[in-house]
């Protein structure tokens, strides 16, 4: 079994170790995305437009997108 996964953050491929989560994919692509998500400035959505959180699990080919958090 492959030890790494390729997932896509904002359509950019990112390689992470199997078992890593949404937060790791953001860190791997661009740590500022992770920091913005932690600060609540961004929310993360999957390919269906459903929100996921930073501890969400990923699998090979998962696609996530960072979105500016809507004004409340």
């Amino acid at each position: 079994m492959n030890m790494t996964l390729t997932v896509f953050v904002n359509d950019q491929p990112v390689t992470i170790y199997r078992g890593m989560q949404v937060k790791h994919a953001l860190i791997a692509l661009n740590e500022s995305l992770y920091q913005a998500a932690v600060a609540g400035e961004l929310q993360i959505e999957d390919r269906h437009g459903f929100q996921v959180d930073l501890e969400g699990a990923l699998q090979e080919g998962s696609r996530i997108f960072t979105k500016a958090k809507p004004e409340e």
């Binding site: 929100q51 959180d53 409340e72």
Partner: protein
């Protein structure tokens, strides 16, 4: 997906036109309440909000919402969990999940799938939790080396509500085998769901189950694949990807739901069932997830609140517990070696059995004065839920990391099992002028076992070389490793040992 859902909708409409009305019987209404990835969130989260005002989650509010749903459909409610209920907050972790277990028993859950984090404290704790539960823990794809179930964990349970027989099968992610500390899953086999589900679904149908539900701790993408591959599943109640599935998905007539994470939502899936065929003819397509909002005016269930309060009171005592003692002040130093960095890196290395350990200075968040060290201080020192990971790196890769560290604006990596001399008068890329591992010069072609945390392993602080490791193994939470180290080694007296020397221009 859209086509499948439309087909299902058409079928539903056709069915709605025929059996119940012909028979003159109203549809039977069942309510499937579901949560997943609760991760010990017994207390409301005051840092998160869904409506922009209220704190989110909390067991007392969740319990009230469950009670309200039960009142709406007496005898027709099931309460299910798709796993990862225990690990994640001090009020649960300190008690190894017993606080959440008491809450779940009080709430009379009907079943729970095992999540990967149910293995975080080892199989002994898992068995204790399962034995304490008033409902079954389910994992049909979990076996021991002899192909047997792991008592008291079961593959499935048969439930009956209003004359409808519902089989609930548990599935845990096969990734558990390698995303968990190896000693916690030793002797366990996690099979692929698609391999074990078809015969089990068939067997349960043959034994009289009207409906088949899979409690799946696999992630939404995996659940979609299961629904596409395995026929005969009516519902997949998912977890693991922490997905807020606001509107149920539908693949090949299988309804798929998931309720986010951390108790922020209660899934309320209403099923309309033909009383003569016992088939689902309709289900709640909108607003299936109910936000668990915990503003002061939101009513709570007082007995659940009392359970939480009881453990919350104990947590204060648990946090005040002394886990160790230091004979010297533990002081950070962002620019170079620190004694607290040495202590932590030593704990990493010992716990993992690695040749060396590297950790980011930014992960160490406070100093600790000489004297007793409480559990609360450990949490303040290490507030992030980082996990130890161990991997193979070549000497050349280690050199590359240290060269990057020499010129990095980030705090210096803290080290154990390794010494490095940085000469910042040299050009970038040639500043780590002397590196030794275990007292011997670093060999570029040799493979070393290196321990770090998951933040650096993901490439945090721009250290991309960590992402190129081999044979990665996940370990325990850094906090737990450090607490255990202090308990064994106290009093500790870490010193500056010239593990890092810097010649400045």
């Amino acid at each position: 997906m859209k086509r499948a859902c439309k087909s299902a909708l058409l079928l539903v409409l056709l069915l709605l036109l025929v059996p119940p009305q012909v028979a003159g019987l109203p549809a039977t209404r069942l309510t499937v309440l579901h949560v997943n990835d609760f991760h010990g969130h017994l207390l409301p989260d005051f840092n998160k909000t869904i409506d922009g005002i209220s704190p989110v989650g909390g067991a007392a509010r969740l319990a009230r919402m469950v009670a309200d749903e039960r009142a709406k459909n007496p005898d027709g409610v099931l309460l299910l969990s798709a796993g990862d209920m225990f690990q994640g907050t001090p009020i649960s972790n300190v008690f190894h999940g017993r606080s959440v277990m008491d809450f779940m028993n009080y709430l009379k859950f009907d079943a729970m799938a095992l999540g990967n984090h149910e293995f975080d404290w080892g199989t002994d704790i898992l068995r204790q939790l399962a034995a304490a539960a008033s409902f079954p823990f389910l994992a049909a794809n979990l076996q021991d080396l002899h192909g047997e179930e792991l008592p008291p964990i079961k593959s499935h349970i048969l439930l009956e509500r209003k004359g409808i027989k519902l089989a609930v099968i548990g599935i845990t992610t096969p990734d558990t085998a390698f995303t968990t500390q190896p000693r916690n899953v030793a002797g366990l086999i996690f099979q692929q769901p698609a391999a074990i589900l078809p015969p089990l679904v068939q067997e349960l149908r043959a034994s009289g189950a009207d409906l088949i539900a899979v409690l799946s701790h696999s992630g939404l993408d995996a659940d979609l694949a299961i629904a596409a591959e395995v026929s005969g599943i009516d519902l997949i109640i998912g977890g693991h990807s922490h997905t807020v599935v606001t509107e149920p998905l539908c693949v090949n007539r299988t309804i798929i739901v998931q309720a986010g994470s951390n108790g922020a939502y209660l899934g309320v899936l209403e099923l309309e069932i033909d009383p003569s065929t016992h088939k689902i003819v309709d289900f709640s397509r909108k607003n299936e997830l109910k936000p668990v909002l915990s503003a002061p005016a939101d009513p709570v269930e007082e007995k659940a609140a009392a359970i939480v309060a009881r453990f919350n009171k104990q947590i204060k005592a648990a946090f005040a517990r002394t886990v160790g003692e230091t004979a010297v002040d533990l002081i950070r130093n962002p620019g170079t070696e620190s004694n607290v960095g040495n202590l932590l890196a030593d704990a990493f290395r010992e716990a993992s059995g690695a040749d060396l350990a590297l950790l980011n200075g930014g992960s160490i968040r406070t100093d600790i004065r000489k004297g007793k060290i409480t559990l609360e201080q450990v949490y303040t020192l290490l507030p992030f839920d980082n996990q130890i990971v161990t991997m193979d790196l070549s000497g050349a890769q280690i050199r590359q990391i240290l060269e990057q560290n020499a010129s990095s604006t980030h705090k210096k990596l803290q080290v154990s099992g390794l010494t490095v001399r940085y000469d910042l008068t040299q050009p970038a890329g040639r500043q780590a002028v002397e590196i030794q591992v275990g007292g011997q010069p670093l060999e570029d072609v040799r493979t070393y076992r290196m321990a770090t945390n998951d933040f650096l392993a993901a490439g945090g602080d721009a250290y991309t070389t960590f992402k190129a490791g081999a044979n990665l193994v996940y370990g325990d939470l850094v906090r737990d490793v450090f607490s255990a180290y202090l308990e064994r080694k106290s009093p500790v007296r870490p010193q500056i040992e010239n593990r890092i020397e810097i010649t400045k221009p």
